[in-house]
């Protein structure tokens, strides 16, 4: 008798457990988040030179960053999470064909409905931004990028890496000759995290796949309120000093101009 009771309890528990899941998954859809990197609106090809607005050439070598807390928000302010955290690395796009192919993150079982906003964070959320991220299960993007992206001395992930060389002597060729300016903007630490909001009606239709097309424009990352970034200024080429995060935070804040959702 006791055994039977226990068994039926277990039975109920199972029904409940699976039943709950069923309730949640009403009509749902798949959402693809597609990301393209551009330079002044054109596909960004790495290890290629570009014309910077000040007339000098630039070689762009690296661009990667984390996105996090990506969510759809409805008119009542209810949030539906699409992505908790993921890593986007555009650096392998060394041909036009690669540069024209977006990096895609897919979110499944997103409840159908009308949403009014999309929020997206750039960087790693504070609660995950620590050394223990490497203990997360295999396959977690933070664990899997830890070696390359966690900067031990800061105790932070590098949220954004942008690297290249500026033709400072303006002779039209990029060299590592002491005249030209390699730059490496590595931005991290919790205070440089940014959360962006796109105010835009988004319809998620059951059993369909919705494509949300983002692009991030490299040039806009350097479009400061005070004007375009001055790559000729040797003090503005690196962001390695943890005691001076001004520039790092400025570049991160420029995502509001650089990231667009079409």
């Amino acid at each position: 008798m006791k055994l039977l009771k226990a068994a039926s309890l277990l039975f109920f528990a199972i029904i409940l457990a699976t039943g709950c899941k069923d309730d949640d998954s009403g009509p749902s859809a798949t959402v693809n988040l597609n990301f393209l990197a551009t330079y002044d609106g054109n596909p960004l090809v790495f290890q290629q030179t570009y014309d910077y607005p000040d007339g000098h050439k630039l070689l762009i070598q690296k661009l990667d960053f984390y996105i996090s807390n990506v969510a759809l928000i409805d008119a009542n302010g209810n949030k539906t999470e699409l992505v908790d955290v993921d890593f986007l690395d555009f650096t392998e796009n060394t041909s036009l064909a690669e540069a024209e192919t977006p990096l895609t993150i897919t979110a499944t079982k997103i409840p159908a409905g009308s949403y009014t906003n999309l929020q997206i964070g750039i960087g790693v959320p504070a609660n995950l931004n620590n050394e223990d991220a490497n203990k997360l299960p295999v396959g977690n993007p933070l664990r899997d990028t830890y070696n390359a992206q966690f900067w031990s001395d800061w105790g932070s992930f590098i949220f954004l890496k942008s690297e290249g060389i500026y033709d400072n002597d303006n002779d039209g060729t990029i060299e590592n000759n002491g005249e030209d300016h390699p730059f490496g903007h590595h931005c991290g630490t919790n205070e440089s995290y940014v959360l962006l909001n796109f105010n835009k009606p988004i319809e998620v239709v059951a059993n369909e796949t919705l494509d949300l097309n983002f692009s991030v424009d490299w040039l806009q990352l350097y479009n400061h309120d005070s004007g375009m970034h001055d790559f000729s200024d040797p003090t503005k080429l690196y962001t390695h000093n943890p005691n001076d995060l001004t520039l790092a935070k400025q570049i991160m804040a420029n995502f509001v101009k650089a990231l667009s959702l079409n």
Partner: protein, 374 residues
């Protein structure tokens, strides 16, 4: 009949180094092994502080017996065509599992084109193995040296034959993998066992670990010189006048590698097409990857000279002089960190002193990592 027994005993006595092609041939339908008990013991893996979780393939869990078998295979020249070369010939524990040479020597004294790599914390490298990342996993890697014509120059078909008729391996494969018959000894099981042994080759007991990951209370654990080297290595410009940029490629917390591919400017080439060894580019087929190699872990770096994929630098002084010079530029060189560093003599010494804190003699002397046949 008597002769066969005699031969058998001689073969046993010569284990493991015997060239046992003439040994007793087992019956065509193999040797039944079910009398040998099979009760594998799960290996209790302890991850040191700061280390990431280990990605162990679901079909190859660590067991005491699997590791023991892997260790025997690793040190046994039976894997080579003439029983002269074992994995350990090129990966000797006393050199932190390298061979101390610029280029490794395989069977018949053949010289390879790349320098042997330290097998150290290799379980944690998930972005490809070898200097160019062409092997996806330790299992995959372990299959390659046997048939490499300038390393072991043997065929796996033949190695399987040799292992199947070898009583020691019949027993150990049974204990590790529960095979019922010697015929079930395969290259894949051998590779799995070797991979298991390699996964436990964990180094986490250097002075660097004690200071940063084990909360060693000794305030004088690091000398001033070593501390200054730390600041240079990690570009800590609030404490140092100069940045070495090393950690951009060799960080990864206690792993001391970003586990990524770079051109660190050692080769003077006119264009990306001119590298004598294209490295990563030959694997990905991308021109932009030519001349890139994996930034290896710097653990036990003081024990693994000479340095780089081609062993071109004899000492750490030469390595630091290279980085200090800024190296050679082509467009895939990370000029942000590969640029003239302007290190003084003191700075260079400090950096090298810090590199020396990565030395872990416990690892090198660990009795579990030594030749089981000695």
């Amino acid at each position: 009949m008597k002769h066969y027994f005699l031969l058998f005993f001689v073969a046993m006595a010569l284990v493991p180094a015997c060239k046992d092609d003439d040994g007793p041939q087992p019956p065509a339908d193999g040797v039944d092994l079910t009398d040998i008990p099979y009760s594998p013991t799960a290996y209790q893996l302890e991850l040191p502080p700061g280390f990431p979780s280990m990605n162990i393939p679901a079909d190859n869990p660590l067991t005491e017996q699997g590791i023991d078998l892997g260790r025997h295979l690793f040190f046994d020249p039976i894997l080579s065509v003439d029983s002269t070369i074992s994995c350990a010939s090129c990966h000797d524990p006393k050199f932190s599992f390298t061979d101390g040479k610029a280029f490794s020597t395989g069977v018949d004294g053949q010289i390879g084109t790349r320098s042997s790599m330290a097998i150290i914390n290799a379980a944690f490298f998930e972005n490809g193995l070898f200097w160019d990342g062409r092997a996806a996993s330790l299992e995959d890697q372990a299959l390659q040296p046997v048939e490499n014509p300038i390393e072991m120059a043997e065929s796996w078909d033949n190695v399987e034959k040799k292992l199947r008729r070898h009583p020691l391996y019949q027993k150990k494969f049974r204990e590790a993998f529960g095979i019922k018959n010697s015929k079930e000894i395969t290259r894949d099981l051998a590779a799995k066992a070797i991979a298991q042994f390699e996964r436990i080759l964990i180094s986490a007991n250097s002075k660097f670990d004690k200071k940063f990951y084990q909360n060693d209370p000794d305030p004088f654990l690091f000398s001033d010189l070593e501390t200054d080297g730390y600041f240079i290595y990690f570009d800590d410009l609030s404490n140092s006048q100069v940045a070495g940029h090393c950690a951009h490629c060799h960080d990864g917390g206690p792993l001391l590698t970003s586990d990524d591919y770079f051109n660190n400017g050692i080769e003077d080439v006119a264009t990306l097409d001119d590298f004598p060894d294209p490295g990563r580019g030959a694997v990905t087929g991308k021109r932009s990857d030519n001349g890139k190699f994996r930034a290896p872990t710097l653990r036990n770096i003081a024990l693994t000279a000479p340095y780089m994929h081609d062993g071109r630098f004899q000492t750490l002084e030469e390595v630091v002089d290279h980085y200090n010079s800024g190296g050679h530029f082509v467009e895939n060189v990370n000029a942000q960190s590969i640029q003239p560093l302007h290190l003084s003599e003191y700075d260079k010494q400090a950096l090298i002193a810090f590199l020396n804190t990565f030395t872990d003699t416990n690892f090198v002397n660990n009795p579990l990592f030594q030749n089981p046949f000695e």
